[in-house]
Symmetry: D2
Subunit: 352 residues, 4 copies
């Protein structure tokens, strides 16, 4: 893949492509050069959130109207803009000169249901990460700053069919299968990048051994997808338009780590900055132990507002207060992505 | 009123008084000495949130079981523990020696419906604040660090009756009457403390002129109450067990101001602290202009999760990330309490 | 307009057009002959429900792919499929022979903001209804069985601009403006059909005099629309494929009236039926008096679930239990559409 | 147990005992004679619904104020008054003369965690039902018209502890344990009443073999309880003040079965009735197959409103439309209580 530029565009509704249209009309980039679209949409982020599909369909239609094909575009839309988190889409677009930012993509059809949430899935994802890293032309794993994964879930029908065939799927609960899939994919990232030894984990580690995790993966499960898709983003040898940094949040309130990651990307609080925020992506989760810093939280027992909504509201508020910018991407479901109760964080800064 | 001590107690449910019982059993304070209870309960914070009443009834029953009367106790319970905000009650208890913290209380029966949300209410509250400040023995307004007000709302029946009598109430919408009542009460605090000149405001200022506000008031509307109740908390001349500070948040992400208020109370980040957090109370609101720092927010258009829930989740996350402690009190409805989109903040620190 | 046929199609998601595609592929009708699409989509029915737009965009794309224009199609999508109400779209399609069902459409650009919710809007809608009835070729008002109206609301920006110009809009609350718009439009229907004398009502009647209402109107407010659109559906002189009936529900539990309307359309419980249900459309509302049949309801005070969601769940359950079919259309917001606490009901039956 | 009378009392809030106070003040019954209180409270019915405990605490306090003991009172409070279902409490009170209605109660401490959701629990409940039936003095099972069961759930701590001990609990998911507990308890009722042969079921039947169910059980799981409690209500040989009937709903829309049960208790639509409704209790569930009468429902995929809330709104609307009375008790969680997708129904009628 070639070098890439980053354009962050606010949206007024899930299907608002006026910002994209303006960007394309300005000549800053071409419809055919869009490589990826990473967005937050204002749905509930749950199983009946259709804002993600609506955003993707609208972007595809806009690009299509301009004669561009879109089947290669890597789309990640995450529903749920709680609190200050502001709906937006970040476009990664092919650049004609070196920018310092590179990306690579790899895809594979999903495996049989019984492989989901197990080592077979871990290895599949690890292989895709290696391929995407190669596609990005990144030699050293330390130059990888984001591994974005889209992974499948088990539907009620798949669970029933597998059971009828005598296959043992990892769980009978579709919602739980999403967590297993994210967890296995995250461990796949960790193995590919050398963060965890493959020999150190087994089926039993997944959603159990929380000491094993990736510091750079960002995994989204997608109900209904038949694919694993991986995008690797990293620092290229050439170009200095973009500087990247990444790290983990130890818990939902870990502003200190956020400051360190921002600093690593050239963004220091109060500094006379030559770089500005281009994109911030993080994972979050309601701490499954039921408390944060010794105080009970109620995210898990709230029957009115989903736990992920609470977690996204919290982590996006903390991160936005640190970087001063609500146009950020915080997604829920951080299994094996950062330590338990925490999450991963990637920052892209742009020279100004 | 005498000097007071502060005890912050985590709760496991709205009606959990085991922490209070343990505190009383320990001899640290006596049931008859409880002056105020300020708590966050894990309801939705809306019109069908009964966790506040349940908490109060449970505390009253526990104190009653120990032979104490409770009709003088100042109760403020705020529903809604979104995100990391942890359910707890802070008890203010009569102390036998000077602590540096003093409080005073004043009450008045509510006025006729047509006065609500107008200058008549402003003046009533201003008068109560002056009386409570006197009761607290605080001479200078600059020593007042929190004015907590409970104010009434208009019920559908009151609105209908007033209209039938030909009285013009400030609004026909019960929910809106709560905002008017909070706004008028806040301006009453501002006048009593000399923050705003009475001549500078009129009926038309309420919920309109957002340049007028208190920096120290914290107002809660209570559906069904027939009272105005005011509690003033401040720094006493004698004693150094407690240090207080207050200020305003300019917006929902204003971590800098929070750090300044913490520092004013002797709590500085990273410092070798001789004081620790005893209580933090803040008001929050979804910015009615629909954006924060130039980015659209979706709190006001979310038909699934109330705007106040979004705002409390956000502000409590920011404040908890600054002070490192989720046992804080963030309440919704900051009309004329701090600048538009922001809120007030009070910190009580205790010598350790 | 020509005679029309009715095709009711279940949907699996808001953007599922596979049923429409199958219908068109079957040759039962042509893409270019679609006149109207009336659907229920599985959003929350509130201000952040984008499922309606997604459904419309998806249908337009499908028809467009088949070479049909869609700008004349009358779309009504109603969000909120609570309880048993099942997501579906009912297509009204041009027929080549007389069917007994006819429809007509009329549109007008919206008026200035200060006219909304007032007699000016009432008269505009009345005029559109007369035009649409004429377009449908229906001579007698008693042959009109459904008047579907789409009407605008006031946005916060419009309210602010009008106030800045010194114009007095009917309300400062955008949500309330939707109710005013529906109420005025409903009274416009009533006047056009001779149900209410124009002289009997004035600005003051709207959302106040609940004894005035239409028995046949079904009004939907649309945030952001710049149009009034009216569709009249009725019984044509020729053809007996469809039989229509309409009436009002006296309250949310009025199964008896529902049975009478079904019977009027040829659908009687237990009867050896020669007709079957083709479509059922109804309006619902949470009774604003706070009770149903003498018992308090909690729809209006539930801060977690919107009142319209409660009302749609209730009325759709009652109607589905009467007609035995959950593929029905129940929409919220029944101001001046049927008596207070009730709503209107239209049934289309098809010979089998 | 003696004969009992039935008093149904509307409540204005979960803690409103004014209706109870009025009843007791009227002399119609004595505080010490209250045997059971069965109520609906206006919470969300989920894991953070505290309205049930608040109602019980308030009733206990009111009875206590009047000198009555309450530890023997059988309390069942069910949260969630969706749609038209109206908050109320039905009191069963000791009568001095034969009324035709009798009840009996039995209790047992809960078993070890690994027994929950298995045959051990089935047998425990079956035994309790037999004891309660005996306590009620009911000889024939056909005279039993309601078996109300309260059963425990597994907490996250219990699940963790059991796993640490090497015990295999039936599920690792606390929410799922509630369903297992209700299902096992329901099968216990079925065995005790001869509806199902014990030999016909095994551990594997629970939440699997939906052809096995009770037609008369109404089971509520209670988070945190350490008890199984069973109340049997039936028709006594002597007295005709009350007539009882019961049956099952085949699905959520089964108005016909409801009419039959009402008729069996002497309540026929349109009839010159000598009896009137005293109480109606039913179980409901969102059909786990995802459809009702061939149409997809969205109760299970709605991330904003819980599936049980949808189901209660639906079934209460259907039943209230049949009996004309919203003061009814419809509870969620009908595993093995009526056929899949349906539920049980009990009616108590009183001579007027």
């Amino acid at each position: 893949m070639p070098p890439a530029s980053v354009f962050r565009v606010a949206t007024r509704t899930p299907h608002d492509v006026s910002g994209l249209a303006k960007l394309l009309d300005s000549g800053a980039c071409q419809a055919g050069d869009v490589l990826a679209a990473i967005g937050k949409t204002e749905g509930n982020g749950g199983s009946n959130d259709f804002t993600k599909e609506f955003a993707i369909a609208s972007i595809e239609a806009e690009l299509g109207r301009r004669g561009a094909r879109t089947d290669h575009v890597f789309f990640i839309m995450s529903g749920g803009c709680e609190g200050v988190m502001s709906p937006h889409v970040t476009y990664l677009v092919r650049a004609t000169v070196a920018t310092g930012l590179t990306l690579g993509v790899a895809r594979a059809a999903r495996q049989p249901p019984q492989d989901l949430g197990r080592m077979a899935q871990v290895r599949t994802v690890a292989d895709l990460v290696r391929r995407a890293q190669h596609d990005a032309g990144i030699g050293r794993s330390s130059d990888v700053h984001l591994v974005q994964v889209k992974c499948p879930t088990l539907s009620p029908i798949e669970i029933g069919t597998a059971r009828a065939r005598g296959e043992q799927v990892v769980t009978d609960d579709p919602a739980r299968s999403a967590a297993f899939s994210r967890g296995a994919a995250a461990l796949g990232v960790a193995i590919a990048l050398g963060e965890v030894e493959e020999a150190a984990i087994s089926d039993a580690s997944i959603l159990e051994d929380w000491t094993r995790y990736t510091r750079v993966g960002c995994v989204s499960s997608e109900i209904g997808t038949d694919w694993h898709e991986v995008m690797v983003i990293g620092q290229a040898a050439d170009g200095d338009r973009y500087r990247l940094g990444h790290g983990v949040l130890e818990d939902a309130l870990d502003a200190d780590s956020a400051r360190r990651v921002l600093a690593a990307a050239g963004l220091e609080a109060g500094a006379q900055a030559s770089y500005r925020l281009a994109a911030l992506l993080a994972k979050s989760e309601p701490d499954p132990r039921g408390s944060v810093r010794g105080w009970r939280h109620t995210m898990l027992s709230d029957a009115d507002v989903g736990a992920f909504r609470h977690a996204r509201a919290t982590v996006s508020a903390v991160l936005a207060s640190v970087c001063g910018d609500p146009g950020i991407y915080v997604s829920g479901g951080a299994e094996h992505q950062g330590p338990l109760g925490g999450g991963t964080l990637t920052v892209i800064a742009e020279r100004q």
